[in-house]
């Protein structure tokens, strides 16, 4: 579905012409030119904002992703009532820097949100996200709780297991969706990475997604296609994921990974845990469906200096 069609549906719905719930019939062309040789950037260091800047510069600057007047959604993981040290959520400094870069690139609106697992106010506060992002005074920027009213049903034409699920409307409408997951251990899926991070942008009873989660994650990722995935592996949870809680669960890797291809970024991040990309069901499934490249030999990996 192209943008024009999409807007038409929104307009029809807003005008009250359609009384049934709106159906965003998104058909995302899987594949795209990049799939053969996607670029993966990695960087090691402690200065997270500087690392974020180096990576975006190496990818052609934030202007390559955000055009003047664009609506941007940045989707970190703020799912758990855990502190920065406990490493269950995306580090707030990474998100802070991304918001700043998007605003500098001329975004008309930058929205940061996550649909949390623990109580949302506690998550936003104790993850450090709200205290860090409060410092951004720009009117174009908003840190919001996931507003129930903004989740709209979507028909998944390319869905293998899921045929319909609800998605956050701003995430659907964004000109640029930036995916900023935390890399961490996860009991069911092995690892929680970029493809898994979409769980915070969907509505409904998410517990219901957990059986056959791999294929379902691939399904969900046919709808929202991030322009940039930046994986936070500065501190990672290696056991008791996805929330950890004990210092023993945390390993400091001081690494960030970025790619235009979520599958490629996930594949690379998987190796940091000593595992193979194909062991992660969602990565494998997404790769097989042409959503991205998990074969690291088919990727251009660039290691940047901090």
């Amino acid at each position: 579905m192209d943008r024009r069609e999409f807007l038409k549906q929104v307009a029809l719905w807003s005008a009250g012409a359609v009384m049934s719930p709106p159906m965003f019939d998104l058909l995302s062309p899987a594949g795209a030119a990049e799939i053969d040789m996607p670029e993966i950037l990695t960087i090691k260091g402690r200065d997270l904002p500087a690392m974020v800047r180096s990576m975006t510069e190496a990818l052609g600057g934030m202007g390559a992703f955000v055009k003047t007047g664009d609506k941007v959604v940045i989707k970190p993981n703020i799912g758990w009532d855990r502190t920065i040290e406990q490493a269950a959520n995306t580090h707030p400094l990474i998100v802070f820097e991304l918001v700043r870069l998007c605003l500098d690139a001329g975004a008309s609106r930058v929205l940061v949100f996550d649909r949390t697992c623990n109580e949302e106010r506690r998550c936003y506060q104790n993850s450090g996200m709200a205290p860090a992002l409060e410092k951004i005074k720009d009117k174009r920027f908003r840190l919001e709780y996931a507003d129930d009213r903004r989740f709209v049903p979507v028909t998944l034409k390319n869905g293998r297991v899921l045929k319909e699920w609800s998605f956050h409307r701003d995430a659907l409408e964004a000109d640029c969706y930036i995916n900023v997951p935390k890399a961490k251990h996860h009991g069911l899926t092995g690892l929680s990475l970029g493809l898994k991070n979409i769980m915070g942008a969907v509505g409904g009873w998410r517990g219901r997604l957990h059986y056959d989660l791999g294929p379902k994650l691939a399904d969900l990722n046919t709808v929202i296609r991030p322009k940039l995935t930046l994986i936070d592996a500065s501190r990672v949870i290696v056991k008791n994921g996805p929330q950890g809680g004990d210092p023993e669960d945390v390993k400091i890797l001081d690494t960030l990974i970025a790619s235009r291809d979520t599958v490629a970024a996930d594949a690379y991040a998987t190796t940091l845990f000593g595992r193979l990309p194909k062991e992660i069901e969602a990565t494998l499934e997404a790769h097989q469906r042409g959503l991205g490249q998990m074969d690291l030999d088919q990727c251009r990996i660039r290691r940047l200096d901090a």
């Binding site: 807003s14 005008a15 009250g16 009532d81 697992c117 623990n118 109580e119 106010r121 506690r122 506060q125 104790n126 709200a130 009213r149 996860h186 009991g187 069911l188 009873w205 517990g207 219901r208 957990h210 059986y211 056959d212 008791n240 996805p242 929330q243 809680g245 004990d246 669960d249």
Partner: protein
């Protein structure tokens, strides 16, 4: 020297301020970004002299949290029953309702003795081990009515309106309504919609108090309120006195206009019934009514006959016996999960004044009032209902707002180790065992540091001959604290496939 009628305005001002403080504290009974609430939101319960009396009798020991009640005792010893007319938010609300509810009875029967009866029943039953304060304490009734029904209803209506506009009206309309809605959310509405058991009953009790106004002004305060009764007894020793002590025979305006009907059949003034509303300063055409300090000369009797007193005392004795002979007293209660910090059941029941504060503050709407599951004496006490919400691992708010320490204040570390109950799998329902699909949402959400839910990877033969690798969850009993998040998130329809049971003494 006669006093000026402006004292009535002063009284009204005090009422307004106290009501606003009460409502402000009510709204502040919520998470605000820190794990401690910066205001003493339970203030009115700790000022409540009745709470002090009943809890002390029930516990047979002084509960130091309740020290502010002595402020009210001191106030009453000096000024008499001013609390009822200058401070009490329920009294103020009743006064406000008088604009809409006019008494219908021509001549009201004298029922002032009832409040002493209620008081006697409460004190007697507490002394004999069962505490019924939650059925009669004015603040318990008021806060529960507000927290369980009125506040959620108001939010439901207002949010419902704005949400409907937002989802169905064209954008230019919601562009106008949304800023208004956000403003209301920031300053007036609760943070989120809550849902409570016993919402209807709590509303009925509260509205009942107001409907009594059809019988007479301040009907509840004069005839039923046990706190009023207790303060009336204390005020017999107060030193501020209204003069004259008998309404002078020529006009009797003070007597006929008195909202507290503080005159007996012989037009003699009853100081313990007077709540110093100061109205009579205004009624008196001669300006001779005044209030003056003088030494207390308590009349030896109150408005309750010996026979009435004996009946009330016997009722107070009978109630504890009645509760012991209910079948529920013989049944195990493993479905009752008390909030974190709850003392053992006997102390908890003696201390808990059913004020609803813990349930109001619960960040996940997980604490709910009990109905008759634990007998009549357990009504309105808090329990965790995991399918409604779970106990947030890092949250200690409920134990911090308890006015009597029925929930002991917990540090975060204590909270992490506090066992509410234990979770058990129902393998006849669990997706993994029944449908042979890995799910383990419960394991993912288990917050304890060494997860209390673990899983084994097992290859299972399916009916069609194929085999599948499954992650089969199980609970490690010793690690589980019973927070209920597993039960809350379990994706099975209806009752969850993993359920938390309260501390059942018989299991251990």
């Amino acid at each position: 020297m006669p006093m000026k009628p402006y004292w009535k305005q002063v009284r009204r001002f005090s009422q307004g301020i106290c009501l606003l403080i009460f409502l402000f504290l009510f709204r502040q009974t919520d998470y605000s970004g820190t794990d401690t609430i910066p205001y003493a939101v339970n203030l009115f319960f700790r000022l409540d002299t009745l709470v002090l009396a009943v809890v002390t009798l029930a516990m047979k020991t002084f509960v130091s949290l309740l020290w502010p009640a002595f402020i009210i005792i001191a106030l009453t010893l000096v000024f008499g029953r001013v609390f009822c007319s200058w401070v009490c938010p329920l009294g103020t609300s009743i006064d406000l309702s008088d604009r809409f509810i006019k008494p219908r009875l021509k001549r009201e029967p004298d029922l002032k003795f009832l409040k002493y009866g209620v008081l006697t029943i409460l004190l007697m039953s507490s002394a004999f081990g069962v505490q019924f304060l939650g059925f009669a304490d004015p603040f318990s009734l008021l806060v529960r009515g507000l927290a369980f029904s009125l506040d959620p209803m108001m939010n439901y209506l207002i949010s419902g309106f704005f949400d409907t506009v937002y989802t169905h009206a064209p954008a230019f309309v919601s562009d106008l309504t949304e800023p208004l809605y956000q403003g209301l959310k920031a300053f007036f509405l609760p943070y989120k919609q809550s849902f409570f058991h016993l919402a209807g009953l709590s509303l009925c009790i509260l509205t009942g108090i107001f409907l009594l106004e059809f019988l007479g002004r301040r009907f509840w305060c004069r005839n039923l309120c046990p706190l009023g009764g207790l303060l009336a007894l204390i005020s017999k020793f107060s030193i501020l006195k209204r003069i004259p002590l008998k309404s002078c025979s020529h006009c009797r305006l003070c007597e006929s206009g008195c909202r507290m009907m503080a005159f007996d059949d012989n037009s003699r003034f009853q100081p313990e019934e007077c709540n110093l509303c100061m109205d009579c300063l205004e009624f008196c055409p001669d300006g001779i009514t005044t209030f003056r300090f003088s030494l207390p000369r308590p009349r030896p009797f109150v408005d309750i006959t010996r026979r009435q007193m004996v009946v009330a005392g016997l009722a107070g004795l009978a109630l504890p016996v009645l509760t012991r002979t209910q079948a529920v007293s013989q049944l195990p209660h493993d479905n009752i999960i008390r909030p974190p910090g709850a003392r053992d059941e006997i102390e908890f029941s003696a201390l808990c004044v059913r004020c609803g504060e813990c349930m109001k503050v619960c960040i996940n709407n997980a604490l709910q009032p009990l109905f008759l599951e634990k007998g009549i004496e357990g009504m309105f006490t808090p329990v965790l209902v995991p399918r409604m919400g779970y106990c947030e691992f890092n949250c200690t708010l409920c134990s911090g707002v308890c006015p009597t320490g029925a929930l002991e204040k917990l540090t975060l570390e204590q909270k992490h180790g506090f066992v509410l109950g234990r979770a058990y799998f129902d393998k006849n329902k669990c997706m993994v065992y029944v449908r042979e699909k890995s799910c383990i949402v419960c394991e993912e959400h288990c917050p304890v540091h060494d997860k209390a839910i673990k899983f084994d990877e097992k290859t299972v033969q399916r009916a069609d001959g194929t085999s599948i690798l499954l992650k089969q969850p199980h609970v490690v009993e010793a690690l589980c604290i019973g927070c209920g998040i597993c039960e809350y998130v379990c994706p099975v329809e209806g009752a969850a496939a993993i359920r938390v049971f309260g501390k059942d003494e018989r299991r251990s």
